[in-house]
């Protein structure tokens, strides 16, 4: 028989029992949709991890903290153990770290707890300010604009790309350069630009002040690329010192305290000269008594977690496909049983045993292919729905993620191939039974 004839005869037999074929296909489609969605979410998750941490060049980054971390205790993040011998991270630490072998750069970061949220001038959207003070030579990869000119520049900021995306500048981040953001401080803020009551203030005036916030206007000079800084808000380190310097009266005497100088930097970003040396640099940092979290290890752990999740979810999906394939076995066995007469006719007309095997395998492969193709199509549609629905949910929570479920061409093609192969496997025993059938008995029944 010609290949086209196998297909035509198999299609005719499939169409013969529309209800049974539909039910078998329905089971195959559902299991395929589950398989596609599981895989799509896994692919999307991996891509999100890569986007979150940036391109390969960003994988050389190591965040140094005063306290040792113990990552092995939790699969979801580091547990910071209090290090009684921890010393604050200061400029001397930065200098020490910069001299370690295979360290390309060491740059301090100071979290500015005083800044609460911010919005673009003229926009209603409010964002949580995850503000950091960084030096002008900090290794911030920028999609638009330029780095700070000096550490002491004031009223300027670099914002993360994700804010640009939410504000509608995702495709044109340079459109934000020169625009102003209004950054609101925590209540009772006592840093630069705060209207602090003087010594003569009454208790009521002080209480009122403690309920007030201060708004700092900052001009956007840069927008980061995707990666670890895409959700950040960065200001020059000198100005960060000014914001974090609190002004107060002590026994009637005006005083001020630079909290960064007092408690040290939050982290020091160390950049290794290559990803191959990240582990050795991490070890050297720990040997100095500091904690460290490398982007590479985080990515690896998240990818490991993602792979584990995929294995579990994939196993569930594969079990679903196997269950559907058992449905194909049942359908094919029934088809063989019902078509005993047809098989007898074909055999009497000269069809060989292997022709009958090929015919029934074609039929089961077609069921697998059609079920797989429809399942992939619905899975792709469902992925779009998941992306839109989950995207809105994440956006409402101030998070942005391009796509949580991605169906690349290899996944679509591979899934159809898998269901077709499962269909063929499911057809082997029924096809064998069809070939073994005695044509005389079938024709004389």
């Amino acid at each position: 028989m010609r290949t086209g004839d196998y297909l035509a005869v198999a299609l005719k037999d499939i169409r013969r029992q529309p209800l049974r074929t539909s039910l078998t296909l329905f089971a195959l489609i559902i299991s395929t949709v589950i398989l596609v969605l599981m895989a799509a979410i896994s692919v999307g998750g991996r891509q999100a991890i890569t986007e979150q941490f940036g391109p390969d060049s960003g994988l050389t980054s190591i965040a140094v903290t005063p306290n040792q971390s113990n990552a092995s205790l939790s699969p979801f993040g580091d547990v910071q153990e209090v290090n009684s011998k921890a010393t604050k991270l200061d400029d001397a630490t930065v200098a020490t770290l910069a001299k370690l072998p295979h360290v390309a750069s060491a740059s301090p970061q100071a979290h500015i707890w005083e800044l609460a949220n911010f919005s673009l001038d003229g926009s209603d959207k409010q964002f949580v300010a995850q503000a950091e003070g960084v030096p002008s030579d900090a290794p911030l990869a920028l999609a638009a604009g330029a780095a700070f000119t000096t550490n002491d520049q004031t009223n300027v900021a670099i914002i993360g790309l994700n804010y640009a995306k939410v504000l509608g500048f995702g495709d044109n981040p340079s459109g934000l350069i020169g625009k102003t953001i209004n950054v609101t401080t925590q209540k009772g803020y006592r840093g630069v630009a705060a209207s602090i009551p003087d010594i003569s203030a009454t208790k009521a005036e002080l209480d009122d002040f403690n309920q007030q916030t201060t708004t700092l206007k900052m001009q956007i000079v840069g927008v980061t690329t995707t990666g670890p800084n895409q959700n950040g808000l960065f200001v020059p380190i000198g100005w960060a010192h000014a914001i974090r310097t609190i002004h107060y009266y002590d026994a009637g005497v005006a005083k001020q305290t630079d909290q960064i100088a007092e408690s040290g930097y939050t982290t020091i970003k160390v950049t290794a000269d290559s990803t191959a040396n990240v582990a050795s640099v991490s070890s050297a940092i720990e040997a100095l008594g500091y904690g460290q979290v490398s982007t590479l290890s985080q990515v690896q752990r998240l990818q490991q977690l993602s792979a584990t999740m995929w294995m579990v979810l994939g196993a569930v999906a594969i079990i679903a496909v196997i269950a559907a394939a058992l449905g194909v076995v049942n359908t094919m066995l029934m088809a063989v049983s019902e078509q005993r007469y047809t098989i007898g006719v074909w055999r009497a007309c000269g069809a060989r045993r292997h022709t009958m095997v090929a015919l029934f395998l074609t039929e089961s492969a077609l069921l697998g292919f059609i079920g797989g193709a429809l399942g992939v199509a619905i899975g792709m549609f469902a992925s779009r729905f998941v992306n839109e629905y989950v995207g809105v949910l994440l956006q409402n929570q101030g998070l942005t993620l391009a796509n949580i479920a991605i169906v690349p061409p290899w996944l679509a093609g591979g899934t159809i191939m898998v269901t077709t192969i499962f269909g063929i496997i499911a057809g082997v025993y029924p096809a064998y039974r069809a070939a073994r059938q005695d044509p005389v008995q079938a024709l004389t029944e």
Partner: protein, 236 residues
């Protein structure tokens, strides 16, 4: 028709076949020997269960005998593998069964083209050839009708068209008129006579109807697996 010994198409020698029925072994055929000639219309007569159908199935390569040999054009069927036996059925033999053996959900054309599909003929060629044979049996206007939409006589004519479409040397017709009324039965019988006498096709017709058997060139009578009588009607 005149018959010469070198016109032998099928030689059946000492063929026996047993069937197992539960724990019992039943003799279906016992030491049958018979020569069948080219272009001969041979009637195989006998009561139900006498073994006549088994004999045609052995000649048609659908089953193999336990002992004895069947030679077609001097070549033994015994020892042939599935591939060769299938090829023999496809190119040398056409079957017409009492129950028509049509696939009910196929169209008339699709039923007739089955042997040609097996023979890997191109779709265009087999369509034209099938139409030619359907015209021969007077069903050219019903090619797109499903087999289960036809009358009994029409179904048997489709079965004959299918048996002929691969231009076989042998037609095996098992009770071809058994499911038809006398008028339709007579029509089918005339068709088989024409095939034998005008086209030179050897026709083996199983029947238990003495009137039909009398229209054959020769008839053999089988009873309980034994060939009990042979009659020539060449003088009719």
């Amino acid at each position: 028709m005149s018959i010469k010994s070198n016109d032998i198409l099928i030689r059946i020698s000492d063929v026996s076949k047993k069937y197992r029925r539960g724990h019992e072994s039943v003799d279906a055929l016992h030491n049958i020997s018979l020569d069948i000639y080219k272009g001969e219309l041979l009637a195989i007569v006998g009561p139900s269960g006498s073994g006549k159908t088994t004999l045609t199935h052995i000649v048609g390569g659908l089953i193999t005998p336990d002992t004895g040999t069947v030679e077609v054009q001097g070549k033994a069927l015994k020892g042939r593998r599935d591939k060769q036996l299938s090829s023999f059925r496809n190119s040398e033999v056409g079957f017409v069964f009492q129950n028509f053996s049509l696939i009910p959900y196929y169209t008339v054309l699709e039923n007739v083209t089955i042997p040609l599909v097996v023979a890997k003929m191109s779709p265009h060629e087999r369509r034209e050839l099938a139409k030619e044979y359907l015209k021969l049996v007077g069903l050219e206007t019903k090619i797109h009708q499903r087999a289960n939409e036809l009358s009994g006589g029409e179904r048997q004519r489709v079965a004959i068209a299918r048996a002929l479409v691969n231009r076989p040397k042998i037609i095996i017709a098992d009770e071809p008129t058994g499911s038809l009324d006398s008028a339709r039965g007579n029509e089918i019988m005339s068709m088989l006579e024409t095939l034998s006498h005008k086209r030179g096709i050897t026709v083996l017709m199983v029947t238990h109807d003495p009137k039909l058997a009398a229209r054959a060139d020769r008839s053999i009578h089988i009873q309980d697996g034994h060939m009990v009588k042979e009659e020539s009607h060449a003088n009719r």
